[in-house]
């Protein structure tokens, strides 16, 4: 009791108060901390945990395996080949940059050595390339180069690059990247021991330097996404794979990944139909994402053909795996994995063997047409040619074609490793050029220049080229400024009565031409000096102009300053023909004439018509099944090898195809629309009978000239066929008969009404499917039905234009007597396990509802046509019915050769449409069809129809339809 009182009364000392304050402060601090921890861990803990998981979770997609494409017999056309990719993932952590550089360089260097020792190539996406010893240059310009630098210097935007970085030369860049601040290729601090320990060479070769810098740059770009491995080499061989796998312990981070490469079998024959795949473009991506949001930039999608059309089926579904990464993006673990689903398989209706044989038959015949029609002359005076049947190919056009279609490499003539013959040709060429430029200079400076129309054709071509191509393209002549109604312009461009010099003088006075750019001090020059300067400028400009050089070669060949022999020898020099010393000597010794030589090479298909791109150079065959509309064959010549365009695109090959004058990308079967010629006559026959304008057995007397219209239309048989019924008119392809039908269809109460005639024809044309695309799944050009001139339209003239596939559907409808099916290339779609997803059923476009008697008359006519046709004489293989067509465009170029038919006549199991654009005469198409049909029915073996050389066709092109 007492004690308590004392305690209570005892004065609290100052020290106790102060310590008490400290104590309270300590407790307050602890309280603050615990409160904070409570907020962080208990109240918001879950949010932190979730957010954190999000920031370290990366979703990585696993590409799906693209579906395969088969032919109707289950033979593979497109599939995926497993390939191995060497990858490198920088997953280590290093004490400092020095060690990091040594380690990474060492791993990459040793990996590259392994890869190269087995003949594989390192994959580099690096925009610098060697330019001579110890010098470098950029391999990109403009935006691409700026973007490359921005990536290299870690800038998101090009604008963030400093002036110095922007203007850095390739040499400086490589020095900088090699320094210890960057990749440490050149680092004084590396000791001899370190060089040994890290197995690095004391100095790198230029090639090694390029590879290491390129790979390190790729790695650096990945610095914060280290879970993305970089690609070191693609499609490496088994030996590389095994050696790298054996050395994984000493090459940490290096790994082998599997990748699938798209492979096309029999590519040449299916190129345009199958197409190819490639990285998705921005526009394609936008379009694809509208239907499937799973598409991402960098995905491989179909670019052309079936690959593109059936993209959604072939693509499959991507898989997904979730990975957790650390602060530098190194993979910590992989969580869930959704396996990718392989794309669906496509079974086409096409038959590989048939397609292949048809392609070769087509090539052999086109070569045969070129071979038969090539004549040993320098040029043909087109004024003498009255009919397109008489057009021939002068052999000098063949020589020139070798230059024009880039078979011969003009640039190689002046390269250091050019052969003696190449050098000689080049010397001749330079001589010729100098002569041309001297002449042009003379024309520009003489007081008495020659008017354009009085120039030789050769110089007219050169001067036109100078004005229309060179001066306008180089911006010296401003096309916009020219007043089209100016009299001097008209005198130059249309009347051709003034000279180039006069035109230029006028153009300068009118300020159409800016002469300032071409030389210094042009302002102080008199006109002679100015023209002299201009002609020098022209010379310098045109010397490297490939198009101009080609024109020069043309005239060199014409005038004989370059001989056919020299050109033919170039074929050996440049490796286009396999070297044959005997032939080479015979040719250079003059024992074989160049004419015989080149024809021999055409005959033996060593030089193909596709390479020459003369007329003709292309053709198409389509074979269908009358019962379903399934397309068994769809060939377009020339084809291309889509294997070289897929995976890593061979851009040189691509450019060659794009500039190839034979247009291999252009499908002659589905995209080229041309007049059908006499093959159209079945439509007119149907229309005439069904509209009661003609009776089946009514006789119409052909006089050889149908003169009820202006101008009168000649029948191909000028003396007239006499009386023709429907069947015989089809047999004889009598123009007069079908003109009459066209005329009668157009009669409206005794008045000629062209529109009515066209409408009547179109009504029946539509029943045969000629009003719509044929249904094939690849892109097809829409048909164009004639819009005027019903009388010629009735026999296939006027402005009809159809694809071969459209003609194929038409004849398919005739073959099955009235069921116009949509054509299809796809038989069925199955999933990757072979379960059918979509089994295509035949779809009717329309029916041709006509009496059986009319069908019989049409079939009989077509059968008779074949029976009496010269190419079917003594033909016993199978009973064929058909209709030929020779569609004439103008008299100066060969007509198109066409044939439609079906077999066997009694019970058709196939229908065929053949066309060779500018193929001279329908009998060529008929012969192609004949051989193809024989093979189709097994009557001739592959060896019998594919001889490996051109088919000798008759050069008598007198038309009979």
């Amino acid at each position: 009791m007492y004690e308590k009182k004392v305690k209570r009364r005892r004065p609290v000392s100052s020290r106790n108060i102060r310590i008490g304050i400290l104590l309270i402060l300590a407790l307050v601090m602890a309280g603050i901390l615990i409160q904070r921890l409570f907020v962080l861990q208990i109240i918001r803990g879950e949010d932190y945990l979730d957010n954190f998981a999000l920031s370290i979770r990366k979703t990585r997609t696993i590409p799906s395996t693209r579906g395969e494409i088969y032919d109707c017999n289950g033979e593979l056309l497109a599939y995926n080949r497993l390939s191995y990719v060497v990858t490198f993932e920088n997953s280590g952590s290093y004490q400092n940059r020095h060690i990091q550089n040594l380690t990474l360089n060492s791993i990459l260097y040793r990996t590259v050595k392994i890869i190269e020792s087995h003949g594989d190539k390192v994959y580099l996406d690096f925009k610098v390339r060697p330019a001579g010893e110890d010098h470098w240059e950029y391999s990109a310009t403009g935006f691409t180069l700026s973007r490359f630098k921005a990536d290299l210097f870690g800038q998101s935007y090009i604008d963030d690059l400093t002036e110095e970085q922007m203007n850095m030369t390739a040499d400086d860049l490589m020095t900088l990247l090699g320094s210890s601040r960057y990749f440490g290729l050149d680092d004084d601090q590396i000791t001899a021991k370190e060089y040994r320990d890290y197995a690095l060479p004391a100095s790198y070769t230029q090639e090694e330097r390029l590879i290491l810098t390129g790979l390190r740059s790729a790695l650096a770009a990945n610095n914060y996404q280290r879970y993305n491995a970089i690609t070191v080499a693609k499609d490496v061989c088994e030996e590389t794979v095994s050696q790298i796998m054996e050395n994984t312990a000493s090459l940490p981070g290096v790994d082998i990944a599997e990748d699938y490469l798209r492979v096309y079998n029999n590519a040449q024959y299916f190129g345009q139909i199958i197409g190819y795949t490639g990285p998705v473009s921005a526009e394609e991506l936008k379009e694809l994402q509208e239907t499937n949001s799973a598409y991402n930039a960098g995905d491989i999608v179909g670019k052309v053909g079936m690959e593109q059309v059936m993209e959604s089926s072939l693509q499959g579904q991507k898989g997904q795996k979730i990975i957790y990464v650390d602060s530098l993006g190194r993979t910590l673990s992989t969580e869930t994995k959704v396996e990718p689903q392989a794309g669906d398989s496509l079974y086409l209706t096409l038959d590989t063997e048939l397609q292949k044989v048809a392609y070769h038959i087509l090539e052999q015949y086109i070569a045969g047409i070129v071979w038969s029609n090539t004549v040993d002359t320098d040029s043909i005076n087109t004024e003498w040619i009255e009919r397109s049947d008489d057009v021939r190919i002068p052999v000098y056009d063949v020589y020139f074609a070798l230059f024009e279609n880039n078979v011969l490499d003009v640039e190689h003539l002046s390269e250091p490793d050019a052969s003696a013959n190449e050098k000689r040709v080049y010397e001749l060429f330079v001589q010729k050029l100098n002569a041309i430029f001297a002449e042009i200079k003379q024309q520009l400076t003489t007081p008495d220049p020659t008017a354009y129309k009085d120039l030789t054709e050769e110089f007219q071509v050169y001067q036109s080229y100078i004005v229309n191509n060179m001066l306008i393209e180089s911006g010296i002549l401003n096309k916009e400024a020219i007043d089209e109604s100016d009299l001097t312009w008209i005198a130059w461009s249309q009347d051709e009565v003034i000279s180039l010099q006069e035109f230029l003088t006028y153009a300068i006075s009118k300020n159409w031409i800016d002469i300032n750019g071409i030389a210094e001090n042009t302002a102080y020059m008199d006109s002679t000096e100015a023209y002299s300067a201009l002609s020098d400028y022209i010379q310098a400009y045109l010397f490297d102009d490939t198009q101009f050089c080609k024109k020069v070669f043309r005239y060199m060949l014409k005038e004989g300053s370059l001989t056919g022999t020299e050109v033919c020898l170039l074929l050996y020099d440049q490796g286009i023909l396999d070297m044959n010393v005997d032939d080479y000597n015979l040719l250079s010794g003059g024992e074989i004439s160049a004419y015989d030589f080149i024809r021999d090479k055409i005959y033996n298909l060593e030089i193909t018509p596709g390479q020459l791109a003369l007329t003709p150079c292309s053709g198409a065959i389509v074979i269908t099944d009358p019962a379903t509309g399934n397309v068994k064959v769809c060939v377009s010549y020339p084809g291309y090898d889509n294997n070289r365009l897929v995976n890593e695109m061979d851009s040189a090959y691509y450019n060659k195809l794009v500039t190839d004058l034979s247009s291999p990308f252009y499908s002659r079967a589905t995209q080229e629309v041309l007049a059908p010629g006499s093959t159209f006559k079945i439509v007119a026959a149907t229309a005439g009978v069904m509209e009661n304008q003609v009776a089946i057995d009514e006789g119409i007397a052909c006089t050889g000239k149908f003169d009820l219209v202006e101008p009168p239309i000649n029948c191909w048989n000028e003396w007239g066929h006499g009386a023709e019924t429907l069947t015989t008119a089809i047999r004889d392809s009598c123009n007069y008969y079908f003109n009459t039908i066209g005329f009668r269809l157009s009669m409206d109460n005794g008045e000629y009404n062209d529109d009515q005639g066209i409408a009547q024809l179109k009504k029946y044309g539509s029943m045969y499917g000629l009003d719509a695309k044929s249904g094939v799944e690849v892109p097809e050009t829409a048909p164009h039905f004639a819009t005027y001139a019903a009388v010629p339209a009735a026999m296939g003239q006027s402005n009809h234009a159809f694809t071969v596939t459209q003609l194929a559907r038409y004849v398919n409808t005739i073959a099955n007597s009235g069921n116009c099916y949509d054509l299809t290339l796809i038989d069925r779609i199955t999933d990757s396990n072979g379960n059918v997803i979509d089994d295509k059923e035949p779809e009717l476009h329309s029916t041709v509802d006509i009496p059986e008697t009319l069908w019989s008359a049409i079939h009989a006519g077509m059968r008779a046509m074949v029976q009496q046709h010269e190419v079917f004489q003594n033909y016993m293989d199978v009973s064929v019915a058909g209709k030929t067509g020779t569609a004439q465009q103008v008299t100066t170029i060969p007509s198109h050769a066409e044939f439609i038919g079906y077999a066997p006549y009694e019970n058709p199991t196939m229908a065929i449409a053949v066309r060779v654009a500018n193929g001279y005469n329908s009998k060529n198409a008929a012969a192609i069809a004949r051989d193809t049909i024989s093979y189709f029915f097994g009557q001739k073996s592959e060896a019998e129809v594919i001889t490996g050389h051109a088919v000798e066709v008759s050069s008598d092109n007198t038309r009979t339809d």
């Binding site: 100052s14 020290r15 106790n16 102060r18 310590i19 304050i21 400290l22 104590l23 402060l25 300590a26 407790l27 601090m29 602890a30 603050i32 901390l33 615990i34 904070r36 921890l37 409570f38 962080l40 861990q41 208990i42 918001r44 803990g45 879950e46 949010d47 932190y48 945990l49 957010n51 954190f52 998981a53 370290i56 952590s93 957790y324 990464v325 650390d326 602060s327 530098l328 910590l332 673990s333 969580e335």
Partner: protein, 367 residues
């Protein structure tokens, strides 16, 4: 030098707290960076030995050498600036056989030194001259530490000094006056450093402050702190467990640089959760409180100052460290007492505790 002590006065609780806390430290370090665990364990053993030895040494006797300690401490600090090893841009370590951080030792030395100084001059404590003199004596080591540069240790040492002089009996009038000056100055200081082109602080110092104030703009500087908050937050109530190898571990993803030192609390928070964190905070607080209690019953002012100084040091440093780790303060580099990796820090703090125990052994029975 040695006196006879009564065993019942020996503050075993304090030793238990220290050993318990340090053991947690060793475990957490082992989880953060395995390689440092063994050395920290040796540090702990050495620390406990030193603590025990010093607890038996009469602190009054030690105070005789306080000037010597003071001079030796400053020499060490100068030596660091001249011969020290530069790590991460700061010269804080010196190699004397082992790597050694003098500023840790100086903190304890200064507690002893000022405790001695104030107890001897208790009567002059509130004179202007004496205050100026003690500030000058403080300024020398503080400047040397500041030059390392180690702003945070400078601040903590300054705060400890404040606690000692406050305990020693600095007049409340003077304290009031100082507060009147200091509070507006701090406001002015912040308003100055917020302006562009200021020269008061070094760039890295400003950046840390700015990163704390505006984390969105100064993401690089705040990165470490943000990750620490995420780590602590994600620990929730029970934590993810020591040495876990969960994928969703902030520490495991290398999101905290050098987790064994200043941001050890992030690892502790993530792995031990709210319960573990509270235990650490409470233990740090209990150690400080125990020091204060010993100080209250010390036989003389020197003993009180030593105990309260050490308590204040431990509490201030813990508070600042955890505030940084939880984002309540700008990023400063301070170790968490007894937990963070750092043998010098651990051993010197143990020595300090040893001296405080000795103060407790010589307690004033009548108070």
């Amino acid at each position: 030098m040695f006196k006879q002590y009564r065993l019942r006065d020996y503050r075993l609780t304090l030793i238990i707290y220290v050993v318990l806390l340090s053991t947690i430290g060793v475990l957490v370090i082992g989880s953060a960076q395995k390689v440092y665990q063994t050395r920290q364990l040796y540090g702990l053993i050495l620390g406990v030995i030193m603590m025990f030895v010093l607890s038996l040494v009469d602190y009054t006797w030690l105070l005789n050498f306080s000037w010597m300690f003071y001079i030796a401490g400053n020499v060490l600090l100068i030596a660091v600036l001249i011969f020290g090893e530069k790590i991460n841009g700061a010269t804080r370590w010196i190699r004397l056989g082992i790597q050694f951080q003098p500023s840790d030792l100086v903190k304890v030395i200064l507690i002893l030194f000022f405790a001695g100084l104030f107890s001897k001059n208790e009567d002059k404590l509130n004179t202007f001259r004496f205050i100026m003199l003690s500030l000058l004596l403080l300024a020398v080591p503080l400047f040397l530490i500041y030059r390392e540069p180690d702003l945070s240790t400078t601040i903590v040492t300054g705060l400890t000094f404040c606690a000692i002089i406050f305990t020693a009996g600095l007049s409340f009038k003077i304290i009031g006056g100082i507060l009147l000056v200091v509070v507006p100055s701090v406001v002015i200081f912040f308003s100055i450093i917020m302006r562009p082109g200021q020269t008061l602080l070094k760039d890295y110092q400003l950046e840390r402050i700015m990163a704390w104030l505006k984390p969105a703009q100064y993401t690089d500087g705040a990165y470490q702190q943000q990750n620490s908050i995420i780590a602590i937050g994600s620990g929730q109530l029970y934590g993810k467990g020591l040495n876990n190898n969960m994928v969703s571990s902030v520490k495991g993803g290398n999101f905290i640089a050098e987790p064994q030192t200043d941001f050890i609390f992030a690892v502790a928070g993530e792995e031990l959760g709210f319960l573990g964190c509270c235990l650490i905070v409470l233990l740090e607080c209990l150690i400080a409180v125990e020091c204060f209690r010993i100080g209250r019953r010390a036989k003389d002012l020197a003993g009180t100052c030593i105990s309260c100084g050490l308590g204040a040091l431990i509490m201030a440093q813990s508070f600042m460290n955890i505030c940084v780790a939880t984002g309540l303060m700008p990023n400063t580099g301070l170790p968490l007492p007894f937990i963070s990796y750092g043998v010098t820090s651990l051993v010197t703090l143990c020595m300090g505790v040893g001296i405080v125990i000795n103060v407790g052994l010589q307690n004033n029975r009548y108070r």
